[in-house]
Structures are given as C-alpha cells and as structure tokens.
Subunit: 333 residues, 2 copies
C-alpha cells in the first residue's frame, strides 16, 4: 500500500475560491489490478477552466463532485504496472491531477515521449494550452496574411503562445497583460505593442493608441472590458476567437457584456467561442509546427511553479489574481 | 420645371427622432440633362438602418448631411428621359427615396421588371429586406438540416422573410414579436411557436418554454434582451446572424451587452454581423427561390403603408415603436 495525498472539493466556491473550499485527504493505493498501472505524479496543472467545473451547472464538462478529488492534467511516472504496454519508469500524461499518485486502467493514461522537452512542457506550451492557442488563432480566428492580432492575457500559458505563433507567422501583435514583469516578458518575446492594462484607465483608448490602424483578429482570454476595447478597435471583417473570460469566472453577479456589441453588424465581425477538446485533430500539425518554431528560437515559454500538492489550491486561485507569468504549474515530486 | 417635395435632415436626432429633426422642402426639377432621366417616385421605403446614418459617426455608409434630402430605396416611374436606355413609363428602382421625384444619371437607377409582383414588393420581400433574410439565414448562420431557428422582430420586413424561408426549408421556427396582431400574423404564416415579447416579463424563460430543446440558429433583428435569451437557449455550435439591433438604435447611452456572452465559449457558439450590401451576389439565387416559394404559396408578406411624403418621418419613427406589420412603406403617388 502506498499513501498519497489528494485535493478534494469540500464546498462550491462563491466568487473567488478560498482555502476552505478545498480539503486535503490521504488515500492508500493498493497494488494495481490486472490491466492497471500505478503512477506517481510529477507535475500537475491548474487552469482557469477548472473554475467552471467547481459550479454545479451543466456545461461542456460535468461539474466536479463534492468530497471527490479534483481532476486535471498531470504528468507522472509509472511506479508499478499490471499492463504489458507500460513499465515502471515510463512517463505518462493523464487527467488525474490534483493528487500525488493514482491507480488507473492503462488505457486511461497516455505514454509520453517528451522529445527532448522538459516533461511539464506538455501541460503548457506543448500541450493543451499550446494547442488552444494554435487552434484558436489558425482555425477559429482564421488568421490570414496581413492580419493585425490582439491578444489579452498575453503573458499567460495560452496568450503567450498566441502572441508567439502570430509573431512566428509574421504578424503585428498587440498584447495586453498586467504588471511590469509581464510587460517585460512580452517585449522579450517580440510583441510589437504591449498594454499594461492595470496601468490604463481607458483600455479602449490604450488599444486605439497601440493599434492605430485597428485590429483584425482578437484572441480573447479575458472578456469584459478587453472585449469591449477589441470591438471598438476592430476593422471590418474582424474575427474574434473567444477562448475564455477569466475576468468573469468568479463573478457572483454576471457582469454586463460589451456595450458596443452592435458594432458587430456594421463592421461585419465574427466572434466564435471554442474549446480545445473539439480540436484534438490539430495536435499533430501543432506539435510539428511547434518543434520547428522551438528549433528556430521563435517560441519559448515561462513557468510559475508552486511546490507540493498542498500548494495546489493557492496556485489555482493565483490564476485569477494574475500571479502567473506563463504556465502555472504545481510540482508534485 | 416640375416642383417636387423632399424630406431633409434638419438636425441630428438624440434618441428617438422627433418631427423637428426633419423638414420638408420643395425643389424645382429642370428638364433632364443629356444622359439623365426624370423620375416620379411611387413608393419609398423607411428602414431601421437609416437611423445610424442620422448620427454623425463613421460607419459602413457615410452619415446623412444636414440640410440635404435623406436617401433610401424608392420605386418610381420615368417621366422624362434624355437617355436612350430608359423611356417615359419605365419602372425604376433607385436610392433617391425621401422625395417625390428627382433627376439623375440613367446609370444611377435600375430598370425594374416586377415579374408580376406589385412594384413596392421590391422594397420589401423581393428586395433588400428579403435578400437580408436569405443571406443571413443561409450564408451567415449557415442554416442546415435539423436546425431549430429563432428570429426576433419576426413580424417585420426582414424577420417575416426569415421565418418563412426557414419554414419553406422545413425547419422548426420560433418567432418573437410584440402585440396580438403580429402574433396572429406569425401564426398565419406557420411559425411554430410565437413569443409576444411585450407580454413576457422574462424573455429567456419564454424562449426556453417555446424551444425546450434549445435553438441552433438565431437571426437577430433586435439585440438587447433578445440576444441574451438566445444565448441562454442556444445549443452547442449554435450560429447567430446579427442583422440589427433595433432595440438599441435610439439609445443615447449605449446599453450593456448580454450578461451571458461567456456562454459562447462553453457552447462553442458563433456570432456574425453582416450587412446586405456584402451579399448582392446572392440576389439572383434569392429571386429564383423566392419566385418558387411564392408560386408554392410558401412565402407571403404584409405591408404597413403611410400615404404622402409628409408622412415619411412618422413612418420612419414608427419602425422603432413597433408600428409596422411587415414592410413599412410610404406611398408617394
């Protein structure tokens, strides 16, 4: 028997989650049954979308259950195996995050070949957030030559990939983020115009200054005021990929939408929401392109790392406080 | 010399236009110069989009000029011609509405073959509003088999065509309009579920009752609360064609947008604004389909007619007060 700790949802948060919405528990893992593996998690991810699953509402993924371990992406190492396809020492990726280890059917984990990258990259730039950026920009927004691209949450896991993919493809990119460190990072990765939204009173005016010719593509990670500014700055036939609205995930009263949505008619704008799981088919071309961009030095990434399963709730809440530069991760071993 | 009356924009309206934003003037038309025709207008249209042109803001069409005659669709009869291609008695369509007659280069008017329809139909069901419905539904919303369609402003010139085109193509249609006459008309043309929005306190709840399985396509003529309800009722991968937002055209303070726009992400919704002038290429297939639907008794229309140029401002303002059933027209001769 192996004792592992896990984080459970104790109560459903109202607004920004607090420490007492979570509880840590220790569970004993027996030896894996036939066809199962036992995995020791090395890394887990916290992502903004998890906030939605903490509410008891129907959505594209079922809500987390009270008293049960939370779930999410994780990278681990097989420690024991009763399946012929996996052996101790194999790196695997799974959705059994928020815990130090687990037993699962071998089919519920994917063997990971890190191809020279640090394994946790597959929770960020080379994984779901990277694919989100790639699919949103190329497929949903239909990026085409000459487009001027605006991305909010530009220093985050998804946003920083959006910015770099657009730059790698030769576009002018305007990025918005909060605080000097993030602004510096965005300049470092070649973003043409950086808006520190925390330093701006009037985000629309700031965007108009940063993009005097307007924007063609907006990749929205934030919602709210950012979306309103993007509508104001959009050129005719602009396309918006709506990836998330982190500014709203903890709202207890739904905030009003942009006051200028009516501009979508006159400017003939398109706005489309998406979730990455509808675009797994793009994973192979994404990873091919990414490998090349990494070789050419066109794409890099940052990580903000919390250590230990006990810090996972804090890391998660930090997402909504802008505590992360790049991918927010929890190192478990 | 022929004396004709015209309506000019005297001052820019704030909010709902008032009588004194308009002035009537009489102008004398000389005989048409070489290459010109003189036209006596029989019908003119008033359309909601004209409200936008009364503001002094940059948009997809330039603003109306103060002290100049307003413009808009009109059907007239050539009374004198100095151009070999047009002769007295020819019916023509032009953008020289808001006046009893005019001189213009022959190239600025289009000869109209009414093909057995009353000529004013080409200002409504068989003209711009009809094409707006057709292009918005088929191209922008990408109507496909099995879609459940919701249309607001469903008893209006565009909305009633949307409803009937969707019915002609075999769809379940939910229509929203205000008042008993409009509700009766929508039932008469086969709309499956009719919402009298003026009688509903909670439009979202009303739509959920009318469309218990949700909606796939929303054709938005109204904006505001209707858009919020449609977002709430949308099924995954729903598509919204944004045609207009009549509820907002007279707002002096821009009203907030839908509180639930964030649902676009989880439900992977697409929303696209459009203006009909980008879709003139669909006029020929539209008129072919329309002719067939009319023969089959699948499409009909209503008109609300004001008589005389002096009534044009009143007809226009009535658009925003729900005064029209079907196409709002002014009969000029």
């Amino acid at each position: 028997m192996t004792a592992v700790r896990e984080i459970r949802l104790k109560s459903r948060p109202s607004g920004l989650p607090k420490a007492d919405n979570f509880e840590m528990a220790t569970v004993e893992l027996p030896a894996p049954a036939a066809g199962e593996v036992q995995v020791k998690n090395l890394w887990m991810t916290v992502d903004p979308y998890m906030r939605g699953r903490m509410n008891d509402v129907k959505s594209y993924v079922p809500p987390f259950q009270l008293g049960k371990a939370l779930e999410g992406g994780a990278i681990g190492e097989v420690t024991a195996s009763s399946d012929p396809n996996l052996k101790p020492g194999d790196l695997v990726q799974s959705n059994f995050g928020w815990r130090e280890g687990f037993n699962a059917p071998a089919a519920a984990v994917q063997k990971l070949d890190p191809a020279g990258l640090p394994p946790q990259t597959f929770l960020g730039a080379a994984g779901m957030p990277g694919l989100t950026a790639y699919a949103g920009l190329l497929k949903i927004a239909g990026l085409k030559d000459g487009d001027i691209v605006f991305v909010s949450g530009a220093a985050g896991a998804v946003g920083s990939m959006v910015a770099q993919i657009a730059k790698a493809k030769g576009h002018t990119v305007i990025g918005s983020a909060g605080g000097a460190d993030k602004v510096a990072f965005l300049k470092e990765i070649g973003v043409d115009q950086v808006i520190d939204y925390k330093a701006e009173k009037d985000l629309t005016a700031a965007l108009m200054r940063a993009a005097p010719d307007g924007i063609d593509v907006y990749f929205d990670n934030v919602g709210g005021e950012h979306l309103e500014a993007a509508l104001a700055a959009a050129r005719p036939f602009g396309r918006f990929a709506l990836c998330g609205a982190i500014s709203m995930y903890n709202a207890t009263e739904p905030p009003p939408g942009p006051r200028n949505l009516v501009q979508m008619v006159g400017k003939q704008l398109r706005m489309e929401g998406f979730i990455v799981s509808s675009h797994w088919d793009m994973m192979a071309p994404f990873q091919r392109d990414l490998a090349q961009w990494v070789r050419e030095g066109k794409v890099t990434w940052k990580e903000t790392v919390f250590e230990g399963i006990g810090k996972a709730p804090e890391a998660f809440v930090g997402l909504f406080q802008g505590a992360n530069l790049g991918k927010m991760l929890v190192k478990l071993a």
